[in-house]
Symmetry: C2
DNA sequence: GAAATCTCCATGCATTTGCATATAATGCTA
DNA sequence: TAGCATTATATGCAAATGCATGGAGATTTC
């Protein structure tokens, strides 16, 4: 395996830094508006997208690229706040279904305008349309599964779909 | 402020996911090779780049986009391992200088081949030269300071330089 | 069809992070 | 130059994360 070229190293370094900077900014906006961390929003949105508002933890984990134990506890907290509900999975007692509550839907709707504004501020307003296109395209390729990757906890099943309304993260 | 277009939302979502996936992969490679987390490497590299191998915590914080308290404790751990050394800052008793030790330099050198291979695997090998160029360019613009951003803890002074040898993160 | 294996989710414990605040030194202002 | 604001770093405490493992239930194997 060749070593990475300089530009690859630069791109990687900037990917880390940009994600940190933008994430810190956006999380800061949400917090300041009195909202929970972005991961809560991600869960709510994934659930809301489903016609029945339900998903198994396993599915959520793969969508969000979250560690299993991490998600388990995140759901604990969200359930404690009444945003989601754990219900039994018919036909398999190991599994469960996470269902978004009305309160969860309400929170998602209230967060979105703030989140959207932050995305526009930290991402949209900094790039041209073409640059955004190219960025999205390149990142999609980074997300593509790779046979060479060793067995790893995250990033197993990735998809590359687009967004609408408040489809984010 | 307009809301973000769909493609902007997609790009942001993928930025988060790609960074998570790639970071998890690369961190996994390092861990498996018995090395400490990437943040340790970042510190070592920033210090090593300086002619005198020294930097103040404040400077490190800004280079790495790390929280102050977070860096303070990271340096505690690294100092405990003998990788860096805290020395007084001449002329200002509030400050200090963090100096990389010989052991720190050695660790950095040993990590680099593993890290480089991982970068190539998770980033370089997935994109064409042109795509990498475009990605680096777009991310640079995301990192550019923005007057509209509210006073935030991170991301104050950002620069956009390139890489060489083992100049990463 | 029983045992071994695998899948899904939870949890105890250590580490790390986040948040607020402390401590100490410097710089500024009147 | 006394008082007050500001800067640099550290730290107590709570929350979140990582890691290893547990335990229950499904699936496979022979």
């Amino acid at each position: 395996m060749r070593g990475p070229s300089e530009i690859v190293i630069t791109a990687w370094a900037r990917l880390v830094r940009a994600q940190r900077a933008v994430m810190a900014g956006i999380e800061g906006e949400l917090k300041q508006a009195g909202f929970p961390p972005l991961s809560w929003y991600d869960v709510l949105l994934e659930l809301k997208r489903r016609p029945d508002g339900r998903l198994t933890p396993r599915e959520l984990e793969q969508e969000m690229l979250f560690e299993q134990y991490n998600l388990s506890r995140l759901l604990d907290r969200m359930e404690a706040e009444g945003l989601v509900r754990r219900i039994p999975y018919p036909g398999d007692k190991r599994r469960q279904l996470i269902e978004i509550t009305e309160e969860g839907r309400s929170l998602q709707r209230r967060i979105w305008p703030v989140y959207a504004a932050a995305i526009e501020q930290y991402v949209g307003s900094k790039l041209t349309e073409g640059e955004v296109q190219g960025l999205a395209e390149a990142l999609k390729k980074l997300l593509a599964a790779d046979e060479n990757e060793r067995a790893r906890p995250l990033a197993k099943k990735l998809s590359g779909t687009s967004a609408s309304d408040d489809r984010v993260s």
